[in-house]
Point group: C2
Chain length 243, copies 2
């Protein structure tokens, strides 16, 4: 049985990607990151999804991207909410920082995040002798992140095959798979539903609200909005909203 590393955040896209890899016959090594994200509650979802999917192993790697910052997800910047057009930046001093107010890439962008994630995935792939790495990157209903585009993923794959002992010795050709790259959020949800993904286990919200000892989604951030739009367009109800 071929092994695959699957990046698993606990959101809709990564849960669906895991189900696609599993349907492809791979033994799954799921990889999650505790990087100081403000929505760390997603890690609990990653654990639940991994468990429900019967993965071979779930590895959570911890490091602190708050020391680097540069994102609303890892610093004191506010997460933009509905009505802000995704452009609001917290704090007067940041208002005129070049590039921060770009309409194309919102402040929830985390510098080099997928590059860091894929680098750890590559290290683990080499160690467990897997050639295939799956990532839930999506270039349609996404937030405009540069590290979710096909040309970026191709460049990472090219680099990976020059970086490692396994590739240089001709033993392994690493492949980066992004099976959702051209799907809309609605198409992703339909595909995952067909593959039996339990979306009640997933988490999307960037800015969770504490309630009764737990968390509920804010329903206003980009990620909540993409999720709601996806379920609506798929003609399905979000099971997380029914709990």
């Amino acid at each position: 049985m071929e092994k695959a590393i699957v990046l698993l955040s606990g959101g809709i896209d990564s849960a669906t990607t895991l189900s696609v890899a599993k349907a492809g016959g791979y033994e799954i090594y799921a990889l999650s990151f505790d990087y100081g994200q403000r929505h760390r509650v997603e890690l609990e979802s990653a654990r639940r999804v991994a468990e429900a999917s019967g993965v071979k192993k779930l590895l959570v790697i911890s490091f602190n991207l708050r020391d680097i910052g540069g994102s609303a997800l890892t610093s004191g910047m506010e997460v933009p909410k509905r009505g802000d057009c995704g452009l609001r930046v917290a704090g007067k001093d940041r208002q005129h920082e070049p590039g921060m107010n770009s309409p194309a890439i919102p402040v929830t962008y985390v510098p080099a995040r997928n590059t860091i994630f894929l680098s750890f995935a590559l290290a683990w792939a080499e160690t467990v002798e897997a050639a295939d790495i799956f990532i839930g990157a999506n270039a349609v209903d996404y937030s405009g992140y540069p590290d979710c585009r096909p040309e970026y993923l191709k460049a990472f794959e090219n680099m990976a095959n020059l970086a490692t002992k396994a590739s240089v010795e001709g033993k392994t050709k690493f492949r980066i798979h992004a099976p959702l790259i051209k799907l809309s959020k609605a198409e992703i949800i339909r595909k995952g539903t067909a593959l039996g993904v339990d979306y009640s286990l997933t988490w999307s919200c960037y800015d969770p609200v504490r309630k009764q000892g737990g968390y509920i989604p804010c329903l206003k951030c980009d990620s909540c909005r993409f999720r709601a739009k996806g379920f609506e367009e798929a003609g399905l109800k979000d099971p997380l909203r029914q709990l």
Copy 2:
């Protein structure tokens, strides 16, 4: 003043690279990693080198590569010593693992290490608005690591310029500098000496020996041997050996 990120392990190569970047007029952001390496004593050297060099900031990022393993530096495998030809692998069960006994790449190779390091460097570069990343990679007197070769570094640079908001928006073209890539260890030591590097602050040994509450180099591992050979060929005495 332009900023540069410098990967700083605390060894000869990274200390020399830092001095080259400094001589180039950059304001230095030094980046070190506590990744579970058995020679973690090198981190103290990194701190000393950073302090002696007057860097703007030293950031140490922690994560645990022991969870991934696959290297004598991050697992129970023994570090090869003089007479082993760099081929010994600890534990009977590993003796026949494919690729592990390659004469070209020794067991001190850490899967995707430079890729992980450079990914964090890229994240920090984007956040502090630096375009230049320096790494002490060397393809001459080195250990045969694939992620120390020019073609790998070029591929990383290409990927980096597709990965980030700063590059995609046309604000920054990231450059990976490896000023020692074609130098022998002796040439590196001569260059650093000319630039005023205090090599007594640096650390090379992969397998330090505890002595009198501190550590001394084993003088038998590859890294100790490259260091000794370098000083010998440079016609200089290793100040660390005179302490």
